[in-house]
């Protein structure tokens, strides 16, 4: 791990440098236009200084995004409509509700599939096919239709998040519940263990590493689903709505700040799942 810190920092530094160069290049057009209109000559250093501090740049410089992010997180009261903490909380709560629903559904379906061959043969191909459908693209429609039924607020977003997080959990759990090998299953049979007993004492514990690997994928997918579900016009709360209003009013810094807010939220969520995973696996004696 320690060996890879220097390369990662180098790559990140390279990205920041390219970003600054891109900001100067993309924003210079506007600076030159302004200068031509005012009939003044601008030197190269003036151009650079101006491109990095425009109000509505084509590509905001990293420090502008950092400032926008800081203003959004720490510069406002957290109940304010301009606070990223407030919008992040809305997105976070819908993500968690959907993630919870999707995980429970995925685990239940996986248990059914492992115990019933008919279910395995009929449901599994369709569960896989359902993922080749770009469901995320119809998320706004689901929102609008549910709203016309009078269902508003967190639930519609949570349903989309649940749909996206359910599949990784289902596949991982089916694999995990089938992870015990024939020898272990035979051992439990010699103990005359019932199906329920072998489920609780062997299959479920054995599936934990698989479950956590899919939970990490699932929670990231749930967050993406929630953000896209917040995009339809009319939504005023959440990181997705922040992205949309930024794009309507040309507030590029606001878009980038919301984008990085979402990235930080995603990183935190995956991190938390990772910590729970480590604690659980350690207690089960499975830690690598």
């Amino acid at each position: 791990m320690k060996k890879s810190i220097l390369p990662i920092v180098t790559v990140l530094a390279a990205i920041v440098v390219i970003w600054y160069a891109g900001a100067v290049w993309l924003n210079s057009q506007w600076t030159y236009d302004q200068a031509a209109r005012a009939d003044v000559e601008v030197t190269f250093s003036e151009v650079v200084a101006d491109t990095l501090s425009q109000d509505r740049p084509v590509l905001p410089a990293p420090h502008q995004v950092a400032k926008g992010l800081w203003d959004g997180i720490a510069g406002q009261k957290i109940t304010s409509k301009r606070s990223l903490v407030y919008h992040g909380w809305i997105t976070f709560s819908a993500t968690m509700a959907g993630f919870g629903l999707g995980t429970v559904a995925g685990i239940l379906l996986a248990v059914g599939i492992v115990h019933s061959r008919a279910m395995d043969m009929s449901v599994m191909p369709w569960a896989i096919a359902s993922q080749t459908i770009p469901i995320l693209a119809i998320a706004p429609m689901v929102i609008v239709v549910l709203a016309s039924l009078g269902i508003k607020g967190m639930l519609p977003k949570a349903i989309i998040a649940a749909y996206l997080s359910f599949f990784p959990v289902l596949v991982g759990m089916v694999k995990g519940l089938r992870a015990p090998d024939a020898m272990q299953l035979d051992l439990l049979r010699t103990y005359n263990a019932s199906d329920a007993q072998s489920f609780w004492k062997l299959r479920l514990p054995a599936s934990m590493p698989y479950l956590f690997a899919s939970l990490k994928v699932g929670i990231a997918a749930a967050l993406v689903g929630t953000i896209v579900a917040e995009l339809p016009a009319g939504a005023t709360q959440g990181l997705g709505a922040r992205l949309l209003s930024g794009s309507y009013y040309g507030q590029t810094i606001q878009i980038w700040a919301a984008l990085f807010g979402a990235a930080i939220l995603a990183a935190l969520l995956v991190l938390v799942v990772g910590v729970v995973e480590r604690i659980t696996l350690k207690r089960k004696g499975m830690a690598q």
Binding site: A220, I255, A263
Partner: protein, 282 residues
């Protein structure tokens, strides 16, 4: 509930019983493996139709499958136009550019272990981010037509393919590499004859993930502005007019395109990596 609804439920029960018998009695037969999921799919459609008709569900909430089929039949030129705009121009162009760029970058990075150690964690991290969010920015940069959709798709597919390709290029074992060295194979020779073929199973894994991402990117980007055609545009405007059968027709086309795209890549994979254990078993 009317007789249609009860009929559908009865059909479901009978089909389920048939499926259980078939699955438990002939679990190995090839025709059962195809028949059971097909029967399940037909059952879902019948149940959908029966419940929508039987419970008199308003078409604004959920149209029946026959309504959707009628909408598809009535709007074929429109659907074809949207299909070319979104899938053939936006998604496919972006997919080819994004995957091509990712493969090239992976091969370039492959010569430097330093860059690899730096790029892999960053790439893994970026692949988990809500990248769809950059759609409004790219639409602002590249305009409303399909170029901006292709740009969104490029960014979305790039990192999953890159991460898989880098992992694939590292997948050869020391023994095979030593063999190449004893033949005094040059770097390009070893790359073309050993490492690229060995990377294919990983690459196809990434390419398959990228198919769905490409469709999602192309359709979602249209919500942020598009010319007056395209699947995302049609879905959002038809929802506004509460023309739900047309929306579902677009969804059906998207679903078929998504499955077809995925199936095409899976077929190419089967032909290109026939030697891999995961393909030989079947």
């Amino acid at each position: 509930m009317s007789a249609v609804g009860w009929g559908a439920i009865a059909f479901w029960l009978v089909a389920w019983a048939a499926n259980s018998v078939l699955a438990n009695r002939f679990p190995k037969a090839g025709w059962v493996k195809a028949l059971v999921p097909t029967l399940f799919g037909i059952t879902l459609l019948v149940l959908w139709q029966g419940l929508v008709r039987g419970l008199d569900v308003s078409p604004v909430i959920l149209p029946a499958p026959t309504d959707i089929a009628a909408a598809i039949g009535a709007n074929i030129p429109l659907l074809w136009g949207d299909f070319t705009q979104t899938i053939l121009k936006g998604a496919l162009a972006g997919y080819l550019i994004g995957c091509g760029a990712a493969i090239v970058v992976a091969v370039l990075v492959d010569r430097s272990p330093f860059l690899q150690r730096g790029l892999l964690p960053v790439g893994n991290f970026v692949a988990a981010l809500p990248i769809v969010g950059i759609a409004p920015i790219l639409v602002m940069w590249f305009g409303f037509d399909w170029q901006s959709k292709a740009a969104v798709v490029v960014v979305m597919v790039f990192f999953p393919v890159l991460v898989n390709m880098v992992a694939g290029l590292a997948a050869t074992d020391a023994l095979s590499r030593d063999l190449m060295a004893t033949w005094s194979a040059s770097y390009p020779q070893a790359l073309v004859k050993l490492r690229l073929p060995a990377a294919l199973p990983f690459l196809f894994n990434g390419l398959k993930i990228a198919t769905t991402l490409a469709l999602i990117g192309a359709i979602v980007a249209e919500f942020f502005g598009s010319p007056t055609r395209g699947m995302g545009f049609r879905i959002s405007t038809a929802v506004g007019q509460l023309d739900l059968p047309l929306v579902w027709a677009e969804i059906t086309v998207a679903a078929l395109a998504g499955s077809g795209f995925y199936g095409l890549i899976a077929l190419i994979e089967k032909a290109a990596t026939f030697w891999h254990p995961s393909q030989r078993g079947k």
